[in-house]
Amino acid sequence: MKRTVDVSVPLGPIHPCFKEPARVKCETKGEYVLSAEVELGYMKKGIERIMRGRPWQEVMFLAERVCGICSVIHNMVFIEALEQISAISVPERAALLRVIANELDRMQSHILANFSYCYTIEHETLGMYLLDVRERVMDELERITGARVTCAYIVPGGVRFDIRSQDVLHLRANLAAIEGEVTRYMRMFESGPLIGLRSKGVGILTREAALEAYAVGPTARASGMPDIDRRLRHPTYKTLGFTPVSRTEGDNYARIMVRFQEVLESIAIIRRCLDLLPVGPIRGGGIPGIGEIAYSGEAPRGELSYYIKTDAAGRVVDISIQTPSIMNIEACCHYMLKGVPSLADVSSTFVSADPCIACTER
């Protein structure tokens, strides 16, 4: 069938709204977007090729640098996969500390994603408020793990540092402040009339389309799929008893609101962890050995899977990583962007899916 295409508009790779290089090519009729495709390949470093044949002590740091925004979960999934291979047990205190670090990381990632969206729809005030809250979360992450971004906190058999009693007090006080502020900004986002005009009903991903595109993470949960959360199958999270957030609208507004609600959910999880935190060791010890496993966890953007094969000396013989962003980028280009009313909504819809190009291409 012959299609009438007025203009083919490329966005990127350098674009004021994109944090990372990606090229979105849109075929438009007037301002109405008929179809879109994404062109990747600006960030391919070949991390999996470097990882093969190296000892796990080195691969651990490489795994963390697959993605700088969600570095804790890459560290956690890789180490937990090694622990599953070699049957290393983790002390309870360490397991809860891992959850605390992971949830703080999820909070900062979600707040950053919401900042990017607010910045893209030119609501800079709300964006700056959110960045200010994010610095509080980064402070807590730094106080517990020792670094802001790449902290290498989780090691086989436990975690690197213990949490001190004054840190717990500080964390609780800061969590209360963050909760108050995030709730306030969430209400501002909910009730803002101009935000509603730019967000509601734009870039709709229906439940059927989300299933078809294998969307994961907050993008899928905003389309009414709460069971997609891998945390429901994690042994430590099971004891904490949380319920995943989900909405049914499937538009930009729903995706941002799901992230806001998940930040509040993460605060509740951290509080429960602090209540349950037992006195005890933080490292049990153990040496990774020979084995093969496919293991997945819930990153801030969705399901993250590692396939690892190790030899008797603990060297990684074979590894392959599947990151969540590639699913969401495909869902975004083939379903959300189709039928977006204007070109100004292309960048905001693309950002609302929270694409992370660095971990997509590795």
């Binding site: 790779p13 944090k19 391919k44 700088g68 925004i69 570095s71 660095a358």
Partner: protein, 151 residues
């Protein structure tokens, strides 16, 4: 020094436009550059504006270890920036390739092979204050009396 030059010096010290380009990093440095925008570090109080538009930029922050996708593109980008211009390498990746510089990787560091780099901020990733310090210390050296020193 003539009057025009002193006016230029005054104006340039209060309006530095920054663009950033990611040529293959892990994203950690990108979010630290974004954190510079936050009210805590507040990059705009020093008269630095982050627009990410190369055609109006004075300073280019280069992040990442130069992947093959950027061949020719980075040089084209550098030529689009009007004079006077400066490139600052942020993080270990553009300086040495950091831990990606191993056998079988696809990267081609350092970035200074491809475009002239004036300052380097080491760290994996550097703190936002360090990025801010680098921008603030390079800017007066390059932009003050640019027309006089060019002659």
């Amino acid at each position: 020094m003539n009057v025009l030059q002193s006016v230029k010096n005054l104006v340039r010290s209060k309006s530095i436009h920054v663009a950033y380009v990611d040529v293959g990093s892990c994203n950690g440095c990108d979010i630290e550059v974004l954190a510079c925008l936050s009210p805590r570090y507040d990059i705009e109080q020093y008269g630095i504006y982050v627009h990410n538009n190369p055609r109006e930029a004075d300073i280019l922050l280069v992040i990442g270890a130069y992947t093959p996708g950027w061949e020719e593109k980075l040089h084209t980008l550098w030529e689009k920036i009007p004079d006077p211009k400066v490139a600052i390498a942020v993080g270990n990746c553009p300086i040495s390739g950091c831990l990606f510089n191993r056998p079988h990787s696809l990267i081609d560091p350092p970035v200074s092979k491809h475009i002239p780099i004036s300052a380097e901020v080491p760290g994996c990733p550097p703190r936002p204050t360090e990025i801010l310090t680098a921008v603030l210390s390079v800017a007066p050296i390059v932009f003050k009396d640019y027309e006089v020193s060019k002659r």
